[in-house]
Amino acid sequence: MGRVRGIAWYTMLGGLSLVFVAPVVWMLITSFKTADEATRVPPTIVPRDPTVGAYETLFGGDSQTPVLRWFLNSMLAASGQALLVLAVASMAAYALARMDFRGKRIVFALIVATMFVPIFTLIIPNFLIIDRLGWLDSLWALIVPGAASAFGVFFLRQFFLGLPRELEEAAVLEGANSWQIFTKVILPLSKPALATLAVISFLTNWNDFIWPVYVLFSPENFTLPPGLGTLQGAYNINYPVIMAGATLASIPVLILFVISQRYIIEGVSRSGLKG
């Protein structure tokens, strides 16, 4: 890249980045302000009176707010669901993308069609089912039902369809069975898609605040969104507390994303696919 073009390149990317990152930085800054400074007009950019008061409120001695416990629950629920989605969706997607069987089109159409049913319609029926299973007020209620979403299957099927078939052909010639092809060829080839799906599933679960409200009762079983809600509830215009909660909830996920990037970039191993 030429020097001038290089500068132009980074200027453009940097300028665009500003739009994306500024509100997030704003969140971070606000979390270190006092409640009244946060609503000052015109706003201050650097806190005049920086404080960790909002974080003290979050982690404060009040035994009603076990924030770290919520964090742990969120981690368990979100990773549990991401793993479950990866496992079941990849298998189903492989069958739908690469195998021929009776009723395949109907099965696929049915799975995709359910994506169109608004999630609100399913809340009450699912709540009643979870009750039958005895999963109310437990992490199972957060991990399992969400993994039934059609999203992962549809997503991976589309990726598998795009994979070149040559390697599978070669494996078949070497006598590999379906399971071996799936685990030794398809999954390694699909690292970017799997990593992306993992991040998306994790995040969807991590930020969900509607379903947990129905199925969790005990404060010690809460995840972060309903938990932080109980902290923020009354601080109606206490933006620092809201933003501190948001910071707490988003920074770890951002780190996770950066790590997963490695797998997404590694990609289809610019490997020796024969053209």
Binding site: A92, V112, F120, L122, I200, F257, Q261
Partner: protein, 300 residues
């Protein structure tokens, strides 16, 4: 790519069903049964706490088409809001992230950092971005108007309470928020395209644009279809942004279908009616998506 026939052994006998089984178990229990239950609910005057759940046949659906029913105006108003939002947000959310993904797929120093930057907003939940932007877009006290005023532009735009500003805000915030989501999907898709195809194109003397048309776009087609469908779905299910940033204002102009369905079902406990609305919306989306599928197919 040469289409290869399914080799023997793959798809034979029970194997496909075994691969499907674990997901199928979850799918039937937590999606298909509840969805079927939802259909059944839509045929009743249904409240899970009331002992009587009278069967009303298609009345809940009929009410949606009868201008004298209490739900008629509100429902179609909300469908219109959802329509406006979907029409303006989907093209942006399909095209802009593709551009970003293409840029971020090139190798240059710091690209991982940039990827994180564009994805960062999506990491925040809707509850957070809603509060954040309502605060920033406040017509009288917000930073956006203050900034515009500082550079000599109009500083009293009703970003959250007027039209068309409220729509511009909602579409803008949503693009800002979820652009990274579609971009990472495109990025993952781009990794799927064998390097060799680009090399071949280059040997043939194809320019950038030709390369994009002849290699990238065809290679991305399944992913593109996924992104289009998923974005239509996400946009037509929009709810959090409108409730937090505009609260449906002005009046009920920005109250989306899902917002209204949630109010009807979860606050007013008229779940039969809410379920009927859901399924009408589902039907509309299915039609739109079927057209999309068709379009992708005929391009073959």
């Amino acid at each position: 790519m040469v289409a290869v026939k399914a080799a023997p052994g793959r798809g034979a006998g029970l194997t496909p069903y075994l691969f499907l089984a674990p997901y199928a178990l979850l799918f039937v229990t937590f999606t298909l049964v509840p969805a079927g239950y939802g259909l059944w609910i839509s045929l009743h005057d249904w409240d899970y706490l009331l002992p009587g759940k009278p069967f009303v046949g298609l009345d809940n659906y009929r009410a949606l088409f009868s201008s004298s029913s209490p739900v008629f105006d509100f429902f179609w108003q909300s469908m219109q809001a959802t329509g406006i939002f979907t029409v303006f947000s989907v093209p942006l959310l399909v095209v802009v992230p593709l551009g970003i993904a293409l840029i971020l797929n090139r190798s240059f120093r710091g690209r991982t950092a940039f990827r994180a930057v564009y994805f960062a907003p999506y990491v925040l939940g809707v509850a957070v971005i809603g509060v954040l932007w309502r605060f920033l877009l406040d017509p009288n006290l917000g930073a956006v108007n203050a900034l515009l005023g500082a550079v000599g532009l109009p500083d009293a735009t009703a970003w959250t309470t007027g039209l068309p500003w409220a729509w511009i805000s909602l579409v803008g915030v949503t693009v800002w928020w979820t652009l990274g989501f579609n971009a990472v999907i495109y990025l993952a898709g781009l990794q799927d395209i064998p390097r060799e195809l680009y090399d071949a194109a280059r040997v043939d003397g194809a320019g950038r644009w030709a390369e994009f048309r002849q290699v990238t776009l065809p290679g991305l087609r399944p992913v593109l279809l996924f992104v289009v469908i998923n974005t239509i779905l996400a946009s037509s299910n929009m709810f959090g942004q409108a409730y937090l940033i505009t609260q449906g204002a002005p009046g009920v102009e920005t109250r989306t279908a899902i917002m209204y369905i949630a109010e009807e079902g979860l606050r007013s406990y008229r779940m039969g009616s809410a379920a009927a609305m859901s399924y009408l919306l589902t039907l509309a989306l299915l039609l739109i998506s079927m057209i999309t599928f068709r379009l992708f197919r005929t391009k073959d």
